[in-house]
Symmetry: C2
Subunit: 469 residues, 2 copies
């Protein structure tokens, strides 16, 4: 056959990349579990009707649909033919395709909660780290298979959950060395209040859509868009005033309160931000010894009234994480509170709050800042040279001792020339070689060579296990 | 919409199952890395032409094919229509489907090695733990999405690899507590020799197919099948004699040598088994202190001349792992040596050897034998009761201290009645509760309750971090 290749937008992850990714995912998983979250895994394939209609018309087109099997059976062909034009129409066509690859982790989670509602203990705290698939046009940093990493509490209206999620972000970011991250917060209630004050509640969607673009197009063009969407100039000016609020978090909240604090939504939204900040300030997480890694400071929270989080299902506080400003990469995480996770599946009344981590982008940031620890890569630590059959048997026994103490080692597979074996160690960045030849075999010794320093020592075989690799 | 459901043959894994699976996978991964194997991950989707034709005609039918996206674009519809009849014919139809879900980890690995041949260091030692998808008819213990777990060395003919893979099996099985496992070994060379002696080399496939069924149908029906496949009775008798060889491993090899040792293939195959046994006996792994976990004995190797491993690509030694005999579940792993991994992708001359672990079955065995450690489930260790806003703030600070020392904790989300909070702890099997009410807040104390024993102690808040949960 022709030279093999990968489907567009997909990637192989070789050893080093897998190790680095596992370092990130392991760090995140460890923090999630410290906060009492438990893992959930759902299948890659969902029923197509579980997914269709949940991501908007554009989203539906990006779902990877799976062709039914057994279409070559005569009994199935008539129906399949009848369904074919529906497929071309982008419609449900069960006789041709009834399964699809999951598009995110939220809908499968909602489906799981709806299916298992009676068995779950609420509030249900789950995390989920799995790949998702989208038929987006591949481009730099955008793949058709990528990993999502979500953490949610459902069945609770308590703001303590928001507090904990903020601390989780802080804990993960600082454990990964990303001290300069910022956690931007806002509330959909505040945006509602803004709409109420500037144009009426029915303008909420228009205002949200316009504000959501501010990072990309700037305030001037946001104003143009607001005008185009029917807001009068006094309203547009009021929105500009609101979006221009600056200062430390308490000042921002005070200034916002002057503008929207008289509405119920505004008061609630601002109170929630105060609750969050208050819990994370002096008496909260930040002063507890040992609680927050390394920085000594609390979560780097920035109240940001320009944060909108697109047109999704959020109803309360919303979050977005920015990478340290030395890396130009935009958001590396986000989330928020929603009112009704499982309503789509006929199980109403399950509110929740959740955030996610953009694993691919976090990877790029850590790489750009050279923050991956050297120990991340769990490669071979010691290469035993192969110098003949008797020698390799003795080496094998010594390897088993080392492995028993957790040292990763291997023996070169055949009695090749020395420099070939050295070259193998070098290519694989193996730091130590153990050389055990005829002489060492007789004397019960072995030579340990530090390949970086080029130094070597002859020690007794018994001492090898205590060498301290 | 109607009640949501899962596609047939797929499963959700809730918290407890994920934890148990991760315990197994983590154990396996840890052992692989001790032996110098490194992780590879390939995308779920492969080009359809990478997969088609690699698994036989029946296999091709079980591949999940992905419908091309954008079929609703007019420019694509004409070609899609033209391709539709090909799909119904089970033929390649690139204008309708050009990607598919991987069916195993071997072909993606071969594709990876072929694509990256120039960059890899050989021998290349990789492991891969990922889900695969097959449109098999679902039944007990057989799923349409399941995890494969493969470890291979490619680019080496050395038998030391076989030795190491045998030790890897032993190390994994004993770490998982499955001391009674058996590692059955045979060699395709021995089967070739048997064919040579009984009917001629051209009967190898017939003999292999028949022998492969011996576990299911017994020797008598194997003999019937051999006769049906054209062997004369003296040949069938010779095969029966061979398959009936009993005794300790060295005896079996000696007896087999009498029957097939005069052929070159027979001599080679038996020599290889001797090499394996020899390396794992006294001077090898088994006596190295600390090398082999707990049992004190070496790999439980059983030479088994009835082992055939179906009709696959093996050319040398073959392996199969049987669960401890107290569980009736058949093989929980297997593998062998092959001559040519990447020939299908025009990169000839890459021999290798690999084995795999049947994760789902291993799970069932460990569950049946109740061997999952109690500590596997990384659930919440301490539930802080919520008794009011001031109290919860103090609790929050204490939780952060505990989390800083690695204790998994959470606070009940709202100030509910005591028994509701107790019930939550009970349902989630949380072993400890910390109660911090008005009185404790004033006194700087807290109550720690051991929920299993029903005992409680009042201690100072400072002492909590040293409690020893």
């Amino acid at each position: 056959m022709s030279k093999p290749s990968l489907p567009r937008g997909t990637r192989d992850f070789g050893p080093e990349v897998v190790s680095k990714r596992n370092y990130i995912l392991g760090t995140i998983r460890g923090v999630f579990e410290l906060y009492g979250f438990q893992p959930l895994e759902t299948p890659a394939m969902e029923n197509l009707e579980t997914l269709m209609g949940k991501y908007g018309e554009e989203g539906d087109k990006l779902i990877f649909k799976i062709l039914n099997n057994g279409l070559d059976e005569p009994s199935k062909q008539e129906k399949a033919r009848a369904d074919f034009e529906k497929v071309l129409d982008g419609k449900l066509a069960k006789d041709l395709t009834e399964k699809a690859l999951r598009y995110d982790l939220t809908i499968p989670f909602a489906r799981y909660v709806a299916m298992n509602y009676g068995q779950l203990t609420f509030p249900f705290r789950r995390y989920q780290i799995q790949p998702v698939w989208r038929a987006d046009k591949p481009q730099k940093g955008r793949y058709r298979e990528f990993t999502q990493c979500d953490v949610d509490v459902v069945g609770s209206n308590s703001l303590l959950n928001e507090v904990e999620l903020a601390v989780i972000y802080h804990s993960v970011m600082t454990r990964l060395g990303l001290y300069g991250y910022e956690l931007r917060v806002n509330s959909r209630k505040i945006l509602s209040a803004l709409a109420e004050v500037c144009g009426g509640a029915e303008k909420l969607t228009d205002i949200t859509i316009a504000i959501d673009k501010i990072d990309k197009i700037g305030i001037d063009r946001v104003k143009v868009e607001l005008t185009a969407r029917g807001l009068v100039s006094s309203q547009v000016d009021a929105i500009e005033t609101f979006l221009s609020i600056k200062g430390a978090n308490p000042e921002k909240i005070a200034l916002a309160s002057d503008l929207i604090g008289h509405t119920e939504a505004g008061r609630k939204g601002l109170d929630e931000l105060r609750f969050l900040l208050d819990h994370l300030a002096p008496s909260g997480a930040t002063t507890a010894p040992g609680a927050i890694a390394a920085t000594g400071a609390g979560p780097n929270i920035v109240v940001d009234f320009t944060l909108a989080r697109g047109l999704n299902y959020y109803t309360g506080m919303i979050f977005e994480v920015k990478a340290p400003s030395t890396v130009q990469i935009g958001s590396i995480g986000g989330g928020g509170r929603y009112d009704d996770l499982t309503g789509l599946f006929d199980v109403p009344g399950v509110p929740g709050v959740g955030v996610s981590f953009g694993v691919d982008r976090i990877y790029d940031v850590i790489e750009a800042l050279r923050l991956f620890p050297e120990t991340v890569h769990a490669g071979t630590q010691v290469l035993f040279f192969h110098l003949g059959d008797q020698e390799s048997r003795a080496s094998f026994a010594l390897m088993q001792q080392l492995r028993g103490t957790g040292i990763r080692c291997e023996i070169y597979h055949e009695a090749a020339k020395f420099d070939k074996q050295f070259r193998y160690a070098e290519k694989k960045s193996i730091p130590y070689a153990v050389i055990l030849g005829t002489q060492e075999l007789t004397q019960g010794t072995c030579i340990v060579k530090d390949l970086a320093k080029g130094e070597q020592r002859t020690i007794s075989q018994e001492a090898l296990v205590r060498y301290g690799f």
